[in-house]
Structures are given as structure tokens and as C-alpha cells.
Amino acid sequence: MHMATSELRGSSLKLTRIESVSPDATVRHVDQLETETLDTFYAAVEGNRPITAAEMGLDAGDVIVGTEYYRVDLM
């Protein structure tokens, strides 16, 4: 799996790779995601298919900790 792409776009949200986290951010580890959300997250990271905000079950600004840190940004 390649996670070097810093910005990955779906149909309505993008995951932006970040290097640091602000103290007021809501941060979740991938192990806190439901199975389907986890699937969607990794698909978004790989850029395999369009992602909708509803699928992700996440809010804009949320930070997800996987092999990299990603911030969820609504498009």
C-alpha cells in the first residue's frame, strides 16, 4: 500500500496527509473505526473509489491515525 500521496480526493471529501496535530483536534485511531468505515478509509487513502461523507461517518476536521496522519476535509 502506498500512502505517499499527500492529498486524496473522493466525490465529497478528501483526506489530507498532515505532519502535526493541533491540540483541539478530534483524533481517532483506525482501530476505533467501524469495519465498513475502515474499509472506506483505506480505499480513500489508496484512491480506489469515490468517497462520500456519509460513508465515512466522520466529521470535517477529524484526524485519523493510520500509517500516516490524515485530516478529513469536506470538499
Binding site: M1, P23, V27, H29, D31, Q32, A43, T67
Partner: protein
């Protein structure tokens, strides 16, 4: 008015408190913890120790969260014993507490190596937020490290050393990391990840004793072969001892954990248990099992609370757990019970991709995915459906798993 007492404010205890308040709006709920801070994110404390995440996002609940829900939170409170006949919890200096129903969710404490100087300064165990703060502070000042414990907890220390620029040796007793779940092919990918962050795996090793300087600070680990590894930082993660000492004499059945059924009930009336310390009846596995993952602990707390509030066997625990390692360039996911079962299948796809599936009675009971996690949803679905698929390993080992390619389910 019913009084629910929860001992432990980790994710299972806190999840139970939240569920109880929803199910029993008028009940009295008390949460007792010997820690000095409310619920925090135990999965993320390793990120703090690595120096990548500030403290604030790791806290989950402020004390106000409990006040808003009219839940009594008792921090820094040490439970000394439980009288299950009188239904009373005794504490060290906060008095006695009567309960109608009790949930034990006290988790565990890292096991110390039974070797000389294992309590020296600079030797760390990793479980609480306070541990993580100490590890981060010391790691930032350290140059050389030793890691002990070739499992899912030990590898967090490898990641801390890597992220903090500590040149470290990872001393393992066997010939590979997590030898109970990984073959040589799978483990080699993990060893590569360790080396990439500056941590060297050392096999057929371990620790015979630690050496210290005149101030009692660790200076080296010596393995059973007599080889000496200098270090000013050491991380030990060889397992957990469950926090059940206060239950001595309470009549709860224990077997390396508190025995509970699929409703999180112990063998003692009105006493439930949830989280890491349970040996629960896994309805998917068909036997007692243990699991230390965040999601499992959260769900066990919820299930316990549902049944406590209903005063009945209202909902059973049925869960496929996940545990990820996110420290390296490639993802790693363990699901279910990858070390159990009576059959398995595995395949290596590339230098960073490997898969193992464990079966029991022909059904998937767990597995490990390295590099490519895309089959996880399909495998978890098959687990939940308890479908017999061990005779179709080739389909399951295809790079892209298509459940439509499986033969139709036969009548059993």
C-alpha cells in the same frame, strides 16, 4: 433506586456507564478508578510516547462529562475488596459503597520481567497515560535502547525508539516476532519495518539480567547467551497481569482472567465483568476466549450494561475484533483470534504483503493481514456468518477476495 457501581474507567467501564445512563435514567451510577484522570484514549498514548501527538486530543472525557450525566466519578480511589454477599465495595480511604449490580472493568498491569534489576530506572512498562508521559520524556533524552516482548505490545516500544531516534535492539526469545501468529514470511516483513526505523531484531535471545550504574539507572541488558546490549532506555512488554487482587474471597471464578458468559455475567449474582480482564464465552469461536482490543472492550462494556439494566440476558456479546499496527510504511491488521483454530492458510504476495487466515471446524476464526487490508471486510463477514469455507482456501487467498466466487453454502 438501583445503584450501579463500575470499578474501572477505561473504555469498557466508561462505555458501560454511558449505556447504563441511557437505559436507566433514574439509577444511581458510580464509577471508581485508581487513576488520577478520567477516560483517555489508550490506543493513542503510543503516539504521544512517539512524540507525534500532543496530550490534549488523547483525553476523551473531562470530569464534566460525568457531571452532565449525573454519574459519580471517584478518581484516585483504590478498591481493597468486594463483599459479594453483603454487596459492598470497600475502598482504601473513600469508605464503603453498597451496590445492587457491580461491573468489574479494572483491566491489567504490565508484567515485570522476573530477572535481576528489572525495576531499575530507565526500564519502562507501557499501559497508562502516565506511563506514556514518562516514556516520552525519557526517550527524548536517550540514545540506545533495548526492547523485550515479541508481541503486539512490545512492538510499540520499537516504534517509540524509532520515532525518538533511539538506536535499539529488540531481543526476542524465538526466531521471529509474534511467532504464535506469523510464519517466517509474515514476520520478515515486520522485521523489515523494524530495521527501517532503526530497531534491530535479535533472535533466540531475551534478557537474563539488566546491568545498572551506581545511581541505579539501566546501562545494559545481558541475554541468556551472555551477549551484552548497552542501553540507557529499555521497554518491557511481556504481558499483562489482570487487576483482580481485590476480588480475593469474592467467589468469582477466574482462569487467567475473570470467567464470564456471553452476557458478561460472572458466576456470582449481580456481578459482571468487561474488558481486557475477561475470559468470555465467544459465540463465534464456540469457546472461552480473551481479547485486548479497544473495540472489544468498548462493546463488552456496552453489553454488560444492557444486561445489568435489563436484569436479564437481553443481549449477547458477538464481536469480531481488530488490532492494527500503524507504525511502519505498510498497514498491519490482526482480526479475531489468529493464534487459535485447527487449520490455516497463508500466502506472501510481495515484500510488504502477506496474509494468514485461521480456521476452526472449517470456519474463519481470525487472521492477519499485512500490507493489503482490503479483504478484512469479507473475512469478518464470513466470521460473523460462521460459514464453512476452509475447503476453499484458494478463493480466500486470491489477491482480491470475491465472496461470489465461493461455492454456495451447503446445509450442515
Amino acid at each position: 433506586m438501583t445503584h450501579y457501581v463500575i470499578i474501572g474507567d477505561g473504555i469498557s467501564g466508561s462505555s458501560a456507564a454511558e449505556t447504563l445512563r441511557e437505559k436507566a435514567p433514574d439509577a444511581t451510577i458510580t464509577v471508581i478508578t485508581d487513576e488520577g484522570e478520567p477516560l483517555y484514549n489508550r490506543i493513542l498514548i503510543k503516539e504521544h510516547a512517539k512524540g507525534k501527538l500532543p496530550e490534549a486530543p488523547i483525553s476523551i472525557h473531562e470530569e464534566g462529562w460525568y457531571e452532565e450525566r449525573d454519574i459519580e466519578l471517584s478518581l484516585n480511589t483504590h478498591v481493597t475488596s468486594v463483599d459479594t454477599d453483603a454487596k459492598v465495595v470497600h475502598t482504601h480511604d473513600s469508605g464503603d459503597l453498597e451496590y445492587d449490580k457491580l461491573l468489574v472493568a479494572t483491566g491489567g498491569t504490565p508484567t515485570q520481567l522476573p530477572v535481576d534489576n528489572s525495576d531499575a530506572d530507565g526500564i519502562h512498562h507501557f499501559w497508562t497515560f502516565e506511563d506514556a508521559r514518562g516514556i516520552r520524556e525519557h526517550a527524548e533524552q536517550s540514545d540506545t535502547g533495548v526492547i523485550v516482548g515479541a508481541g503486539l505490545l512490545g512492538i510499540d516500544f520499537a516504534a517509540v525508539c524509532g520515532a525518538q531516534g533511539i538506536e535499539a535492539n529488540y531481543l526476542m526469545r524465538g526466531d521471529r516476532w509474534w511467532r504464535y501468529a506469523l510464519s517466517a514470511d509474515g514476520a520478515e516483513i515486520m522485521h523489515g519495518g523494524m530495521r527501517d526505523v532503526g530497531v534491530e531484531p535479535v533472535f533466540d535471545s531475551g534478557v537474563d539480567h539488566f546491568e545498572t550504574d551506581d545511581d541505579g539507572h539501566v546501562t545494559a541488558a545481558v541475554d541468556p547467551n551472555g551477549d551484552r546490549y548497552e542501553c540507557d532506555f529499555a521497554g518491557v512488554a511481556i504481558g499483562l497481569s489482570f487487576n483482580t487482587e481485590f476480588l480475593r474471597g469474592a467467589g468469582l471464578e477466574e482462569d487467567n482472567g475473570i470467567m464470564v458468559d456471553e452476557y458478561m455475567q460472572t458466576n456470582v449474582d449481580d456481578v459482571y465483568a468487561a474488558g481486557d480482564l475477561t475470559r468470555f464465552y465467544d459465540v463465534l469461536l464456540g469457546e472461552q476466549a480473551q481479547n485486548g482490543s479497544w473495540g472489544s472492550a468498548k462493546e463488552q462494556g456496552r453489553i454488560a450494561a444492557v444486561n445489568m439494566a435489563a436484569d436479564d440476558e437481553a443481549e449477547q456479546f458477538e464481536w469480531v475484533s481488530s488490532y492494527s499496527i500503524t507504525h511502519f510504511d505498510f498497514p498491519f491488521l490482526s482480526f479475531g483470534h489468529p493464534t487459535l483454530g485447527d487449520d490455516h492458510a497463508e500466502r506472501k504476495y510481495s515484500d510488504t504483503e502477506w496474509r494468514r487466515i485461521a480456521f476452526k471446524d472449517g470456519k474463519i476464526v481470525g487472521g492477519v493481514l499485512i500490507g493489503d487490508l482490503s479483504p478484512q471486510t469479507a473475512f469478518k463477514q464470513l466470521m460473523r456468518e460462521q460459514r464453512v469455507v476452509a475447503d476453499q482456501k484458494e478463493v480466500l487467498l486470491e489477491q482480491s477476495v470475491d465472496l461470489d466466487e465461493l461455492a454456495p453454502t451447503q446445509e450442515q
